[in-house]
Assembly symmetry: C2
Homo-oligomer: 491 residues x 2
């Protein structure tokens, strides 16, 4: 994010630079002082707050309650579930001391006397600490299900980072549940994936493919991982949210048992599921264009910006008075902003709000006063029309809805256009090289999956739910296959 | 929190145990697996969510925007402001490594190859990291003021901890601002203290004394610290929120300068202010009684609980049908809950909701159906009355308002009753020993302050704003004094 002039490079020129430029030009975030960390600035954070507000309601409506578990996890907890530690040990921030002191030279150094007996890990995810607590809560079938969620920060040490998409610290919600039966846990894991899918489609206007992860791509400690995978404008996939059926893996590791109605001792069945600030990266890359950020109205912090065209002091009063009328006529359309700054030209303002992706811009000039109307400009397609004051709220609302629908339709169309069904290895390699989503037969063999990845960089994004079962032969190994799976390069 | 039967010990018996019992009986929180940490359970977290929702609106209404700064602070940042590091270095969680690995014995250990070049501190507060970022944002007077806030977790290593009141990790909001003049910063610091005072009085029904901290009690790095101090039922003070005028201390340490309108280079003037989950401890200790938690309606997650008196299956249907009518008549009173569990007796339910401090209980039995009425019981004073269904919403609303007002009045009365004006050292010692708030003359001498503390355990809670200036002689040293200050023992 070194682009000081807020110039945005085109997607074609340099897609990765374009992404960074969008973030800087819209003032969403900047790098923090520690490598891999990010400062989420007010406009970026307002998007996250909107995501939180809507998703939190949906999580509560499905019966979950929020609570808060500690940030620091004893190292021994992490090691209790074997595949979990294998997945997370490599990217842990480790707390070893609890005090600083001045040394002889007056420098501030770590106080070696304040060394912890057992190191603490900053949570990379909270299954271990939460399940250590659940084990105390569960004794009878009457204690089940436990349905909880927390909004929290987590840390996973990353070497190659990118704002929102991959940062050492990120914000998320993590749901954690315990059930009496596998069937209930399975239902829960799928239900929450559906909640995510509905949310990203309806609010973020993103087009995603829902499905199950392959054995090697699933969460460290899960029996099954479900995912929604979105396509970015460069054709790469972004894992947008995941939901895990944890089976009894953590229950056995943390000894979470209950007496069932027949007085038999049983381990609980569990799920966990999460969506993070990463989704903002997906939101940016789904809709934005070479002029800057584009935001769907249902998630935009500012839905409409009103810009008075101010020229000389005499006229300005008249314009600003008219703006007050415009304001009154915008009631009910959602959050809007009036940009009355007198040290910025109208053109610069248009540009600025365009970069911020505000769905609708309203221009108010002297000529408009005569007609008792304003000029309305859409961010998504640059359509410009004159709207009478009387019809303003209605027209704005209709257009906000239309922008939302159009952005979603565009995303779906793009996904369909860039999803290729292939049957030969040559086609597969070509379509992956062309950065497409590829539906191809795969034998289910882990080694084939690894070889495909090594050769093409493509991973199995998911075994899509809506892919019909059909027998075929693996595009790579020619072994028999039961269904096509979704391959793509991924973020 | 070892009280398995949910029996609550009386305040007189053991005040400290009473506090812990209240928390366990109301199911607000429990200790986490790492010493000094706390798991905030759903009912406790729902109180925090209500606090967040209301306070967040007030913070935004006063012009502040939310954003998010990283959790981890480079050690060198902490050392830039001299008094700040002196105040916080002793209680830091220090991250020294970023990876774990398996050793020869198959144990998971810290990977010594993954040692950080510079240690990172988990934020105990964010002045240093935020100001390192502000320094990049400010160049002209047009960039000011900067008015931001974040909701976050912070860690301060504590040896003696108590749920909510003092925990190694706690949740809070921290506001951080930068201004062109000292006058503006001073206005901001006082304004935000007023926001806190209004909030705790109006929503938490706590009676607080607002004032300025003495030199030795102020925030490490501030020019002046303002505070609101609440009195607990044991007569001890709880610092409930603070607001700091940071002067130019951090501006100079982090080189935050701007060109003013005369093109002169100036350091900015700053404030910071915070309220934390600690306030929940204060809320508990202000209102609760020997039967359990008492919550003011304006902050209670559940305002009314409806308990059907279920006896035999035949009658139950009739009662439950009537409960549906009750439900319809409770519309608009706020969040209510109906406890239809069939495996818990009505008496046990009464007891349980009493412990949870729900302001109003409504009992619905067979006899009530005949009269088309219900029994309404207030948590604060146990008043019991029969209310006709037609008047239910109105009566409940009136009573909720009356409970809120009564709790606040009771808190104010208690504070007044327990505030003693003393003029001699003997009186001072006695009234502090009796656990009172004491208003006494103090010379302003730091050494006297220290000696008083050493002898009586009392600290200067604040120099109250509303204390009239009057000359006198210091209660301890007999040196001349300009005003009385507030002394008390404190949490």
């Amino acid at each position: 994010m070194s682009n000081k002039n807020n110039k945005i490079c085109t997607r074609q020129e340099d897609y990765s630079q374009w992404y960074q430029d969008i973030i800087e030009a819209a003032d969403l975030a900047e790098y923090g002082p520690v490598k891999g960390t990010m400062v989420i600035k007010p406009y970026g954070y307002a998007i996250w707050e909107n995501i939180q507000k809507i998703l939190d309601q949906k999580i509560k409506k499905t019966g979950h309650k929020n609570m808060y578990f500690p940030l620091l996890i004893p190292k021994s907890f992490l090691t209790k579930e074997a595949s979990h530690v294998a997945g997370f040990a490599k990217e842990c921030a480790v707390v070893t001391h609890y005090r600083l002191k001045s040394n002889d030279k007056g420098e501030i150094v770590v106080d070696e006397k304040a060394k912890l007996e057992e190191e603490l890990i900053i949570r990379p995810t909270s299954e271990t600490i939460i399940n250590s607590v659940f084990s105390k809560w569960v004794s009878s079938w009457r204690d089940l299900p436990i349905l909880i969620n927390q909004w929290a920060n987590v840390v996973r040490w990353e070497m190659r980072t990118r704002p929102f998409l991959r940062t050492s610290e990120f914000l998320w919600q993590e749901g954690h549940t315990a059930h009496a039966t596998n069937k209930e846990a399975e239902k829960e894991a799928r239900k929450m994936l559906k909640v995510y899918k509905d949310f990203v489609e309806k609010y973020l206007a993103m087009a995603v493919v829902a499905g199950e992860k392959s054995e090697s791509e699933k969460f460290a400690g899960a029996d099954r991982t479900y995912t929604i995978e979105a396509i970015m404008q460069d054709g790469k996939a972004l894992q947008s949210a995941t939901s895990h059926n944890l089976g009894q893996n953590f229950a056995k590791a943390f000894d979470i048992k209950y007496y069932d109605q027949n007085n038999a001792f049983q381990y609980v069945w569990q799920t966990s599921w999460g969506m993070s600030t990463r989704i903002i990266g997906g939101l940016i890359m789904t809709h934005s264009d070479d002029k800057g950020l584009v935001l769907p109205p249902n998630i935009a912090p500012i839905k409409v910006v009103v810009i008075p065209i101010l020229k000389n002091k005499e006229d300005n009063t008249e314009v600003l008075n008219f703006v007050n009328k415009v304001k009154a006529n915008l009631r009910g359309v959602g959050n809007f902003e009036i940009d009355e700054r007198d040290n910025v030209t109208p053109g610069a303002k248009f540009n600025e709000w365009e970069k911020k992706g505000v769905p609708i811009r309203i221009e108010v000039g002297l000529r408009d006063i005569e007609n008792n109307s304003v000029i309305m400009v859409r961010r998504d397609n640059s359509d410009k029309q004159s709207v009478g004051l009387k019809d303003l709220a209605k027209t704005v609302k209709e257009n906000l809805k239309d922008i939302q629908d159009s952005l979603y339709k565009k995303a779906v169309d793009f996904r369909l256009k860039r999803t290729k069904i292939v049957d030969t290895w040559e086609e597969f390699v070509t379509e992956i090289e062309n950065n497409n989503f590829v539906l191809a037969h795969w034998s289910g063999d882990k080694e084939d999956e690894e070889k495909i990845k090594a050769k093409t960089n493509a991973t199995i994004r998911c075994l899509p739910f809506d892919q019909k079962k059909e027998s075929g032969i693996c595009v790579f190994s020619k072994k028999p296959s039961k269904q096509r799976v979704l391959f793509a390069k991924a973020y």
